[in-house]
């Protein structure tokens, strides 16, 4: 079996006396789509930010995170892209959309500005922004929330990173838009062969398209495994409760699995 | 922790407080340290500092005691500065609250007046006022206040407008509180902090304006002021530069003290957290 993309061993993160993560052991397989599921306070966002190196200075980290595929900690932009929850504030209000996507390409792909802008326009097209040429010159306040999140995704993948981390990337969006974004993420990740870490509290939304789920509760990893088996026969009572308490689980998941 | 303790925890607050306290003491003790009229001839003209123990900082062109001038100047600067700032704040608070509460045409009209006072340079206005009405101290205070009340008025009005819409005000209205009571018990205490934060800038500005006015000869001629001392020293700039330098230094230290104190105060108040 090939080595995992990322290996987390005995990871603990503390803020003062408060433990955000406790002794987490988790592997991330290369090319997989992994959902980190949990309610608020479960530590799922902390995990995402620890992997991305975004923790506040006062956080105390113990344990080990290795990246066999990369050989070193991943470089932001180049090795991983990060999409945040609030599309309204992720983008700089005074710069154009085009510049905010192109700057990533310019920085990591060694393109000059003209080439970077061409690349950015292509990316906007791939994330299904209507009229990409016009959008390049537009400013964030002129776009809707869903469109801004698409732009954020475009910027995150602009340098073709191996890993994409989406930290509650759909939680601030309307339900219909959520489905669109999820569909987009799924397609992009498949096309590029990226590894996706999808952080969410919405088990139904995630289970429709990911390969594996990892359930967190109060900083601890409760259960992890292939999505079908975890959902159909959860090993832990907490997982079962999560599944049972979710509304609309009797209806089909929002995204049916795409036939590969 | 009392406000004072919190203030003293910040380096700015401590230094500012020390400077202001020193100035206050200097001003209060002026008659004791240098008794008599500071503008009288105390000795030989242009005596250098540290040459005569009874006149430790020497004398100016007319033979007046420099130390006395500095000490009494502190009184003038602080008194005029604080009085002018207070008047400006009170006037600004009053107009701002009136505009914010009245709304409609009254608000519009008042804001045009505030605009008018913001457009004309404050110093120019004070200059014109003092030159027309006279150079007595109350007039100087009022003139400076005229040039500075517009900013607090605008700020107060903005605060009133935003607080008016908040939930706790609506709640007060629902339980039947009288509008005037709401104004004074709910809105005013919450509108005050940002305006108070502005007060230090206003005091500092008032002190500098008073100095500039007396520098140009438009201060009260019967008072010793730092500004007039600087102006006096101009004619002997080549030979006795210290006559202009010392009072200016005093001014700079005073204004610095005010700014440091205000910065420390903002920090100390900030840690109180939001009151609602």
């Amino acid at each position: 079996m090939s080595p995992p993309f990322c290996s987390v061993r005995n990871l603990s993160v503390r803020y003062g006396l408060e433990a955000a993560l406790k002794s987490v052991d988790l592997d991330i397989v290369r090319g997989e789509r992994l959902a980190i599921i949990g309610e608020s306070g479960s530590g799922k966002s902390t995990l995402a930010r620890t992997l991305a190196g975004l923790l506040a200075e006062r956080a105390r980290i113990e344990g080990e995170i290795t990246w066999p595929a990369l050989g070193q900690a991943p470089l932001p932009g180049r090795d991983f892209g990060f999409v945040f929850q609030d599309p309204g504030t992720s983008l700089n209000p005074v710069l154009t959309i085009g510049e905010q996507v192109a700057e990533v390409a310019r920085r990591h792909l060694r393109l000059d500005w003209r080439q970077a802008y061409v690349h950015a326009e292509g990316l906007l097209d791939r994330v299904r922004i209507p009229q990409p040429a016009r959008a390049m010159r537009a400013f964030p306040h002129q776009l809707s929330g869903g469109q801004r999140q698409r732009v954020a995704i475009a910027a995150a993948i602009a340098a073709k990173p191996a890993l994409l981390i989406a930290d509650e990337a759909t939680s601030a969006l309307d339900v219909v838009v959520q489905a669109e974004i999820v569909r987009l993420l799924d397609g992009l990740v498949r096309e590029e062969g990226m590894t996706l870490l999808f952080i969410t509290h919405d088990i139904a939304l995630a289970s429709g398209f990911v390969d594996r789920v990892a359930v967190f509760r109060k900083g601890e990893l409760v259960e992890a495994g292939p999505v079908r088996s975890v959902l159909s026969s959860p090993a832990e009572s907490y997982t079962a409760a999560l599944i049972a308490n979710h509304r609309d689980l009797s209806t089909k998941p929002l995204i049916t699995e795409v036939v590969s | 922790m009392t406000l004072l303790k919190r203030l003293l925890r910040t380096p700015e607050g401590t230094i500012g407080l020390v400077i202001l306290a020193a100035l206050l003491i200097a001003g209060l003790l002026a008659p004791a340290i240098s008794p008599g009229d500071p503008l009288r001839i105390a000795g030989r003209a242009l005596l250098s500092p540290f040459s005569d123990p009874s006149l430790p900082l020497g004398t100016d062109r007319l033979g007046r005691d420099v130390l006395a001038g500095l000490l009494y100047g502190a009184r003038t600067s602080l008194a005029v500065g604080i009085a002018a700032a207070l008047s400006a704040m009170l006037l600004g608070l009053f107009v701002g609250m009136a505009a914010g509460f009245a709304g409609g045409a009254i608000d519009e009209a008042l804001m045009r007046v505030v605009d008018a006072f913001q457009i004309v340079p404050g110093f120019l206005l004070a200059l014109a006022f003092v030159s027309i009405i006279g150079v007595s101290t109350p007039v100087v205070v009022f003139a400076i206040a005229l040039g500075t009340w517009a900013d607090p008025a605008r700020l107060t009005r903005a605060q009133v407008l935003s607080i008016r819409e908040r939930d706790y005000v609506a709640a007060a209205r629902v339980i039947g509180m009288h509008p005037a009571e709401i104004a004074f018990k709910e809105i005013l205490p919450n509108a005050l902090p940002p305006v108070l934060a502005l007060s230090a800038t206003i005091v500092a500005g008032a002190i500098l304006t008073e100095a500039a006015l007396s520098f140009l000869g438009l201060g009260n001629p019967n008072l010793a002021t730092w500004g007039s001392m600087i102006a006096e020293g101009r004619s002997v700039l080549r030979s006795a530069a210290y006559l202009s330098v010392l009072p200016g230094l005093a001014l700079a230290i005073t204004v610095l003290g005010v700014h440091l104190f205000s910065e420390g105060l903002t920090r100390a108040l900030g840690h109180e957290g939001d009151s609602r």
Binding site: L54, F80, A155 | A252
Partner: protein, 329 residues
Amino acid sequence: MKRALLLLRRRIISSIPVLLIVVIFSFFLLESASGDAVDAYLGSIGGGDAALIKSLRESYGLDQSVFARLWLYLSSLARLDLGWSVAFNRPVRDLIAERLPNTLLLMGSATALSFGLGSALGILAGARPGSLRDRFLSIGSLIIYAIPSFWLGLVLSILFSVKLRWLPIAGIETIASGKTGFPRAFDIAEHLALPVGALSFIYLALFLRVMRSGMAEAWKLDFVLFARTKGLSRSRIVLRHVARNALLPLVTMLGLQSAAMLGGSVVIESVFAIPGFGRLAQEAVNGRDAPLLMGIIVTSAVLVICVNFIIDLVYAALDPRIGASEGRA
């Protein structure tokens, strides 16, 4: 362009009532002077008989009622006639037109210098809030901000004109030097170096502080975190993301200070004997010249309105969210 013209029209319309208030208030203020310009004139010539006084008053229109004179003044203002200066015996408009360019040169240079240097240093300080460099610049700017500009002017002239003899001590150019073109420009620059320095020093400190605090606030915003996850270079984040956003409150502050700067030019021009607009105000005060003082106050108000308008345009150019009624893409 069209948006700018629309803004201009709106600004002119809203400024008229304000200007009116300025004119009326100043008019009544100057009315309350216990002696008018004729008295001052009479004082300087040693008195005169009743007939002379009456004829002088008539010729200057000083014998009519207050409201009649106010109306007269307003109508002449509408024709851009600012009245007659009693002290100088010339039209007020000519005096102001003569002196204003010098002050504009002084203020313009001071603004450019203080804004440019102040924001650059502010960026240096704000690039790493809390760092040693930041504390040093912050404390330094606080100290500089406390210095009275006229005193600084004096100190600078002691140092550079008296002791070192590097720069001239007063005036705007060497009188009757006959220089033209580039040598004249250099001569003026030499004369303006110290006054511009004194005036801009204080505002430099202010702009430094505003830029620095703007940046400290901008650092906390989400898009900066996003920029970091994009792996952008530090200099790009500092300049293109953080500083670019901190520029907005700085431009606003520039507008707010324009009136104060104009007022500051009065004392600086006095210290350095620059024949400018500010100095004219002082001369009007000394000469009890009400029409001149009125003209100066009105002109200042108009100037500030113009500057504020330009600042608003600049701000709109810098912040794409302003006037965003174009709708969604």
